[in-house]
Amino acid sequence: MKPENRWWVILFAIGAVLLIARWFVMPDGFGRAYVKAVPQAVDAENPDGRWVIYEQAPMADYLDAERTNADQSVYGPSVSRTLGTWIAALLTLFVLSFVIRDNPLYKVAESIFIGVSAAYWMVTGFWDTIVPNLLGKLAPGLLRDWAVPGLGDDQHPELAYLVPLILGIMLLWRLSPVGGWISRWPMAFIIGTFCGLRLMSFLHADFLTQIRNTIVSLYVVDNGSFDAWQSLKNLILVVGVLCCLVYFFFSLEHKGLVGNTARVGIWFLMITFGAAFGYTVMGRIALLAIRIEFLMDDWLWLIDPTNKRLLAEAAGFFLPLFGMG
C-alpha cells in the first residue's frame, strides 16, 4: 500500500471509530431530522386542506408532542430529510478533503455540485424566465389554463414580445450546423443594450456622484465649533483620492513631486488591498464556521446552540428512525 493511501485508510478508520463511539455515547443517535405536518387550505370551502406539506421541525417539538399524546401524527421523524442531512454532511467532508490533496471523493462532490447547479439553472430559467416573461406575455390565457391559474384576467397578449421570441430563436441557431452566423445578431443586440445600460449607470452612480461625494469641506464646523475629527477624515478622503489618481496618471513621468504623490497613492492602495484581504479572510472563516457548526449541530449533535434537542438530552427518549415525511 502506498504511504499516502495508508494515511487515507487511517483517516477513514478514525472517522468510523468516532462515529461508532458517538452512537454509544448518545444511544438516541444523531443526524436525524424531524418534520411537522401542516395541512394546506385549498380555499374557503376546504379549510382543513386537501394536501399536507411537511415542514422541518425541531426535535424538541416532536418530543413535546409525543409526551402530550403518544398517538399524535403531527410531528415525526423524516427519512428523506435524515438522508439529506447525512448526504450534506458527507459531501461537506468530501469537499473539505481537498485540503489534504485532490482525491476521488472531492471530484465526486464537485461533479454532483456542477450537475445539480446546471439542472437547477435550466429548470429555473424555464419556469422563471421563459414561462412568465415570454409565454405569459404572448399567451396569458394559455398560461392561466396550463400553469399559473392565479394570473390576472386583465392580462392580454402583447405582440411586441414576438421580438424577443425571434431573437431567442436566432440565438439558439448557433447550435445548428449551418447558419451559425445568425446568432451574432441577437448577441450584438444583447451586448449593445447591456453596454448602454451599464455605461449610463456607471457614469451617473460611480463617476459623477463620486466626484460630488469627494467635494467635501476640509474645515468642518459643527454647532459653531471646529470639528477636528471630521475635518481630518475629509482631508484623508480628498488626499487619498488625489494621490491615487496621480498614481494612475501616466502622461507625466513619476519623478519629483508627481513621483512622491504617486508613492503616497500606492500606500493608500495598499491599505485598501489589505482591508479587502482582511474582509475576504473574515468571509471565508465565516463560511467554514457554518459548515463546522452544521457538522457539530445538525449531524453529530455535539452542540445545540438553538435548543433544537433540549428536551431530548433531558429525557433520553428512544427515537424511531423511520416514520413520516
Binding site: T124, H204, G283, I285, L288, M296, N307
Partner: protein, 291 residues
C-alpha cells in the same frame, strides 16, 4: 525551530485553522455564550434607518444571495426580518438570485411562521419571489413593479394581495433593504435605484466581506448604512436583540455573535502566521546577503 517553520507542510496550517474554528464553535455551542459586541457607526446607521421608520412602513427586502454565502449573510437576513417584524413593517420580499427564493422561504419558515404565527401572508408580508434579469429587474421596478410582478411566488395575482393594493413601483417603499452576495446586489441597487431617485429611494444593505471595500465609496450619500460581513451582522444583531430580544433570546437570533468567537481565534492565527512568514522572509534574506 526556524527550519521547522520554514518547511512546514501547508496541511498543518489547514489543520490549525480547522481547530481554531472548530474549538470555539464547540465551546460556544456547548455553553451558549457569546462575546460582547460594541456596534460601530455603520451598523448603528442601519439600525436607525429601520427603527426610525413609523410603525407599519413599507419595506422591500431583496435577498440577493444563496446557500454559498449563507454563513455570512443568513444572520443578517434573520436580524433584518426580526427587526421589521418588531416594528410591524409591511415586508415585501424579492430575490434577484435564483436561490434567493429559498432564502426567503427559509426566513419566512424559521422566523415568521415559527415565532410570529399571527402575521398573515398578504397583509403583513408577501413573497414576490425570484425574477430573472439582474439589474434589468431593478431598472423596471423602480418605475413599474407590476410589469414584472404580475403574480407572487405562489402564483397568486398581485391584484388579489391586500398589501399590494396601490403599489405601482418601489419608489413607494419607505426603505429598501438588500442582502447582497455579489452580482446582482447592492452595487446594482445603488446604481439603478438609489442614484436616479436619491430623494425617493433609501437603501441600507448587508454584504459579504469580499464586496465591502467596493461599497464603501457609496457611504453615506448613496448608502446610509452597511453591514460588512459577519462583523457587521454581529453588531446589528446585538442592537436588535438589545432592544427587542427580551429575556431569553433564542439561539437562532444570535448566530452572528456566536460566529465571532471562531473569527477571533482564526484571526489571531492569521496574524501569527503573517508575522511568522515575514520573520522567516527577512531572516532568509539576511542569511542570503551574508552568504
Amino acid at each position: 525551530m526556524f527550519e521547522l517553520f520554514r518547511n512546514i507542510d501547508r496541511r498543518w496550517i489547514f489543520l490549525m485553522m480547522f481547530l481554531c474554528v472548530a474549538v470555539p464553535i464547540f465551546v460556544i455551542g456547548k455553553y451558549k455564550t457569546t462575546f460582547p459586541e460594541k456596534p460601530l457607526v455603520l451598523a448603528t446607521n442601519v439600525f436607525n434607518e429601520i427603527d426610525n421608520l413609523p410603525d407599519g412602513s413599507r419595506v422591500l427586502l431583496a435577498f440577493d444571495y444563496d446557500p454559498g454565502s449563507e454563513g455570512e449573510l443568513g444572520p443578517m437576513a434573520t436580524a433584518f426580518t426580526r427587526h421589521c417584524i418588531e416594528k410591524h413593517h409591511k415586508m415585501y420580499f424579492i430575490a434577484l438570485w435564483p436561490l434567493g427564493r429559498q432564502m426567503i422561504d427559509n426566513a419566512v419558515n424559521r422566523i415568521i411562521k415559527a415565532d410570529f404565527p399571527e402575521l398573515r401572508y398578504g397583509e403583513d408580508y408577501v413573497n414576490l419571489g425570484f425574477k430573472a434579469g439582474n439589474e434589468g429587474v431593478i431598472k423596471v421596478i423602480v418605475t413599474d413593479l407590476r410589469k414584472l410582478y404580475t403574480t407572487d411566488s405562489r402564483g397568486t395575482a398581485t391584484d388579489e394581495i391586500p398589501m399590494m393594493q396601490g403599489i405601482e413601483n418601489i419608489q413607494q417603499m419607505d426603505l429598501v433593504i438588500n442582502v447582497s452576495a455579489g452580482y446582482p446586489g447592492t452595487k446594482e441597487w445603488v446604481q439603478y435605484a438609489v442614484t436616479p431617485f436619491p430623494d425617493r429611494i433609501r437603501l441600507v444593505a448587508g454584504c459579504t466581506g469580499v464586496q465591502a471595500p467596493l461599497l464603501y465609496p457609496y457611504i453615506p450619500q448613496q448608502l446610509p448604512g452597511l453591514l460588512a460581513a459577519i462583523k457587521g451582522a454581529s453588531e446589528y444583531e446585538s442592537l436588535v436583540m438589545a432592544k427587542y430580544g427580551g429575556e431569553n433570546i433564542s439561539g437562532k437570533y444570535l448566530e452572528a455573535q456566536r460566529r465571532m468567537g471562531p473569527q477571533l481565534v482564526a484571526h489571531l492565527l492569521m496574524i501569527f502566521l503573517i508575522i511568522a512568514g515575514n520573520v522567516i522572509y527577512f531572516v532568509e534574506r539576511r542569511r542570503g546577503v551574508r552568504q
